[in-house]
Amino acid sequence: MIGLFLSKRKGNAVTDHLDLPQGTLDLLILKAVSLGPLHGWAISERLHDVTRATLQIPQGSLYPALHRLERRGWIRAEWGSSDNNRKAKFYELTSSGKKQLASEAKAWARLTNAVGLVLDMS
């Protein structure tokens, strides 16, 4: 049991999963909640589904990121009830979060574009 925990903490990547580049998790979270309020598990599920399970996101690392984004004022949290009337914390994008998402998305596009150009060199 304990051994299992440990190997996870050490981040032994399972084959055919991609590790997330540094800093992109924030962008993904912002994008995920931009379509409407979501709780943590739902965000994790959505990212998992949308990426067709190619991105390896340890679910545990999601929460520190959420709290960090909340502290910066880009997302807002509110307690609400999910299915079966269970209490859950829902996150939604704030107006400054929208701006942040736009600028990060633009930066990401420019980066991938630039990287693509380099890789296309012949």
Binding site: I2, G3, L4, F5, L6, K8, R9, H39, G40, W41, S44, E45, P58, Q59, G60, S61, Y63, P64, A65, L66, H67, R68, E70, R71, R72, G73, W79, S82, R86, K87, A88, K89, S96
Partner: protein
């Protein structure tokens, strides 16, 4: 931007004040996630257990996530510090013995440092209280050449020189003249001696202080030649003598031979330039000088008695100011020589001025005290290092004992950094408590230290801001030193192995502990060797034959206090003092005297037929005595005879010379019967009738002083009203009867003072005494700490190896072999420490040389004894736990864990 800042602040405040609620929310949020994930896997057909397992696997370590989430919220530092401190305190309360041991160890180490820092700071660094702009304030020194072109540095000047310097320099804002003297205060039965600072008005202006009451005197009251008879009382004196009453202003106080009017009280703690104790009063220098020497004192170059301060003008460099000072001194000396041609040529005098620091102990005339104090501070630091090593060792063994707990917490997702932080917090908490204990210890020790070093136990306030700051630094360093090794150690090792291993077997043994032990042993050896050297040196000083006895001798002197007896009257007073003293019960012998060892000495030129320029080559001190002089002093006559009743005013002049004087004046000849002309070349011959053992009158080490003795009745001047008496029994008990009886003989305001001779001689032994006391105290402390460290380590080691030892015994190893095994491992470590310590001490010996009295700093005896002591301690510390180990029942040892 502003928005973001706002959100940040709100978030953090909420985090700070609603910690409990937020923790709960975090729990709720995470468990919600795990529930949803479990449900998902169950929906896909997994069993509840399997679903739960998968959910947790996907999530990662919950505890770690919580920590990370807290970090992300941004409050966790403060949060976790509070938590760590609570945790540390809880742990310490649970182990009171461990805590007490550590706090005491650190308390002693930190306390010793705080106390010594207080002393060294005062001696060397902290400017005197209230000194304005310490950068530009200096003490004035004068370099010149004396006989044989030997360099000499003066800090005493005459009043006329002081006036010359004021007139003929341009680089200085002001000069101040001052001197602290022991004077008689009060009248009649109330008469008592106290320190009085006699100072120019400009002296007070060097300081930026306001009187506690009334006012200070100004330049108008310090006018040349006769200043106003006004006095500013010292704060402590005002409190103790006048009960701090404010109507003291305007009262009359008799000081020395004049009456002064109280105009103010100095602020609390004010001691002026402050290296001569706490003055009871401050009076204008001109008022005092005029009362003592009459109106001519500012016009002569002969009365050299006062010290000087100088303040540079802003923008003038020290070098330029010194040049200006030297020029003015040269001009002043030119006039001196014009008036007193016997000084010789100005060029030969090598006059040069120096602007020294305000602290005498840092200036060109620094005594041995400051050197010893600095050494002792170093020693205190070493003791702290040893204490730290001990505590680090204790921490290490605790950390080792707790390694399963740590491994468990690591497994639960607590980061190694967090664990290390917790250990550091623990050591910091302990160091803080130790620091507090240290301040208490320092406060206790301070009175003794200050009395020994600073002469001002009265105003001892050890816990001042600078000492506190120093102590805080010491605490931080201690915490780091003690906490860092265990903290680093937790970062090592394999968690799985530790968890699987038995309680009594570690997968790795710490290498840090033996190293710490060697380190401790090394430092202890160095300290103990220092202690041994100082003790031997002090015993040399104690056993050193001064040429006279000290312990059984009292010194009684009459202070005329302005009363001017005629020569005949002085003669009568002196003689009746001698006769009265002889009748006091317990007094064996008594004698009149002029010279008092280490206090005041007379010297006069002599002429010896057949020997050239006697006075240029040597320095002769002389003393006059009654017939019982040598019996009183306990000075042995080596050849010939002492003077006695046969030698009277009319009979042939005689003298007794010291052993070394006989050797230098008449090498290879018999000194008895030789002729010496005393005072002038045309005086009649005095005949050498005896050779006495050498008396050390001015210093233990001076090679240049020679002494001779003449009967007081044959001296040209009337005898001084002062006597030495030799008492049988406790000299302290004879003091008061002697004083009372002698006081009856005193005319008018004159009074009698009686002190043991030891009081006059002891200050010159002070630095040796202090050095040996401190080195022994600290060396003993270091040895104790090292012994405890060694014992606890070996005892611990033995516990660790219980199974192995049991196995050995079960396999037929004899008890003595097991004992040897354990003891030799202890001895190896201490042996390494001894070798390193001896090497270190040999290397450092060259700096000890100047501090020793007739003691070779590489004395093999001391090195051998210290090495022996340490090895012995090592054997004892190892044998006790080893014996316990041999009593292990092999069966139960093998079954352990």
């Amino acid at each position: 931007m502003l928005n973001r800042l706002f959100s940040e602040i709100r978030f953090r405040l909420r985090a700070l004040f609603h910690r409990g609620k937020l923790e709960q929310e975090l729990d709720t949020e995470l468990s919600f996630h795990l529930q949803k994930e479990t449900e998902k896997h169950m929906a896909n057909g997994a069993s509840p257990d399997e679903a739960n397992r998968r959910a947790r696997a996907a999530f990662g370590a919950v505890q770690g996530t919580k920590d990370d989430a807290r970090d992300a919220r941004g409050i966790s530092l403060l949060d976790s510090v509070v938590q760590d401190v609570r945790y540390a305190l809880r742990g310490l309360r649970k182990r009171p013995a461990f805590t007490l041991g550590v706090v005491l160890t650190l308390g002693l180490g930190i306390g010793a440092n705080a106390a010594m820092f207080g002393i060294v700071d005062r001696l060397l660094f902290r400017p005197p209280l209230g000194l304005k702009d310490p950068e530009t304030a200096h003490r004035v020194f004068q370099h010149r050449l004396v006989e044989d072109r030997r360099p000499r540095i003066d800090r005493n000047f005459n009043f006329r020189r002081y006036l010359d310097l004021q007139r003929n320099t341009r680089s200085f804002e002001s000069f101040a003249a001052f001197q602290t003297r022991t004077l008689a205060l009060g009248e009649g039965t109330d008469t008592h001696e106290a320190k009085v600072t006699v100072a120019s008005a400009s002296y007070l202006q060097f300081f930026e202080v306001r009187p506690a009451l009334g006012r200070f005197y100004g330049p108008a009251e310090d006018s040349v030649p006769a200043g106003a008879p006004v006095v500013v009382l010292g704060y402590d004196y005002w409190k103790s003598r006048y009960g701090g009453r404010s109507d003291v202003i305007g009262r009359q106080l008799r000081i020395d031979r004049s009456t002064f009017t109280v105009i103010g009280v100095a602020p609390k703690g004010f001691v002026g330039a402050g290296d001569q104790g706490v003055p009871a009063a401050f009076i204008p220098i001109t008022a005092y000088a005029h009362a003592v020497r009459g109106p001519r004192y500012p016009t002569v170059y002969t009365w050299t008695w006062m010290e000087m301060l100088a303040r540079r003008k802003p923008g003038i460099t020290q070098a330029a100011a010194e040049q200006d000072l030297t020029n003015a001194l040269l001009g002043s000396w030119r006039e001196t020589i014009a008036e007193q041609p016997n000084w010789g040529k100005l060029e030969d005098l090598g006059i040069r001025g120096e602007l020294g620091p305000m602290h005498l102990a840092r200036g060109p005339l620094a005594g041995q005290d400051s050197k010893v104090a600095t050494w002792v501070l170093g020693v205190a630091a070493i003791v702290l290092l040893i204490a730290c090593a001990n505590v680090a060792n204790l921490f290490l063994s605790r950390a080792f004992a707790r390694r399963r707990e740590f491994a468990m917490r690591l497994a639960l997702g607590v980061t190694r950094g967090r664990l290390a932080r917790q250990l550091l917090t623990e050591s910091l908490v302990l160091a803080l408590i130790g620091g507090a204990a240290g301040l208490v210890i320092a406060q206790w020790g301070a009175a003794a230290l200050r009395a020994a070093f600073l002469d001002d136990a009265a105003s001892a306030v050890i816990v001042d801001p600078r000492t506190l700051l120093f102590t805080a630094l010491a605490v931080l360093v201690t915490a780091l030193l003690t906490g860092i090794v265990p903290a680093v150690q937790t970062g090592r090792g394999n968690v799985n192995l530790t968890l699987k291993g038995g309680a009594n077997e570690g997968p790795h043994r710490s290498r840090a502990r033996p190293l710490l032990l060697v380190f401790q042993a090394t430092l202890s050896v160095v300290l103990l060797i220092g202690a041994g050297l100082f003790v031997r040196s002090l015993s040399h000083v104690r056993n050193y034959r001064l040429g006279y006895d000290v312990a059984p001798i009292l010194y009684a002197s009459a202070n005329p206090r302005g009363y001017r007896p005629t020569e005949a009257e002085q003669q009568t007073i002196a003689e009746s003092m001698l006769e009265t003293a002889k009748r006091i019960p317990g007094v064996q012998y008594a004698t009149l005297t002029i010279s008092v060892p280490f206090w005041s000495n007379e010297g006069t030129g002599i002429w010896v037929p057949g020997v050239d320029s006697v006075n240029q080559k040597w320095n002769f001190l002389f003393n006059t005595g009654s017939p019982d002089y040598f019996k009183t002093m306990g000075t042995r006559i080596l050849r010939g005879r002492a003077f006695d009743e046969r030698d009277r005013a009319g009979t042939g002049l005689v003298l007794v010379v010291g052993e070394r004087m006989a050797q230098v004046l008449w090498p290879g000849q018999d000194a008895l019967g030789k002729c010496v002309k005393i005072g002038a070349e045309n005086e009649p011959c005095a005949q050498v009738i005896g050779i006495a053992e050498e008396m050390h009158l001015r210093s233990l080490t001076s090679e240049r002083d020679y002494s001779y003795y003449i009967p007081v009745v044959q001296h040209t001047a009337p005898p001084d009203p002062q006597v030495f008496v030799r008492v049988s029994g406790d000299p302290e008990r004879a003091i008061e009867p002697l004083r009372r009886e002698l006081q009856r003989l005193m005319p008018g305001p004159a009074y009698v003072n009686v002190v043991p001779l030891s009081q006059l001689v002891d200050p010159s032994l002070r630095s040796w005494k202090f050095g040996s006391t401190m080195f022994v105290a600290f060396g003993g402390l270091a040895l104790l700490l090292a012994a405890i460290g060694l014992y606890s380590m070996i005892a611990y080691d033995v516990t660790q190896r219980t199974r192995e030892l049991g196995l050995r015994i079960a396999l037929g190893s004899s008890v003595s072999r097991v004992l040897r095994l354990i003891v030799s491992s202890g001895l190896r470590l201490v042996g390494a420490g001894v070798v390193l310590g001896v090497l270190l001490a040999l290397w450092g010996a060259k700096w000890m040389e100047g501090l020793m009295f007739q003691q070779e700093p590489r004395d093999p005896l001391i090195y051998g004894v210290v090495a022996g002591i340490l090895l012995l301690v090592a054997v004892v510390a190892a044998v006790v736990p080893a014996l316990r180990a041999t009593r292990i029942d092999p069966n139960s040892a093998l079954r352990l864990d």
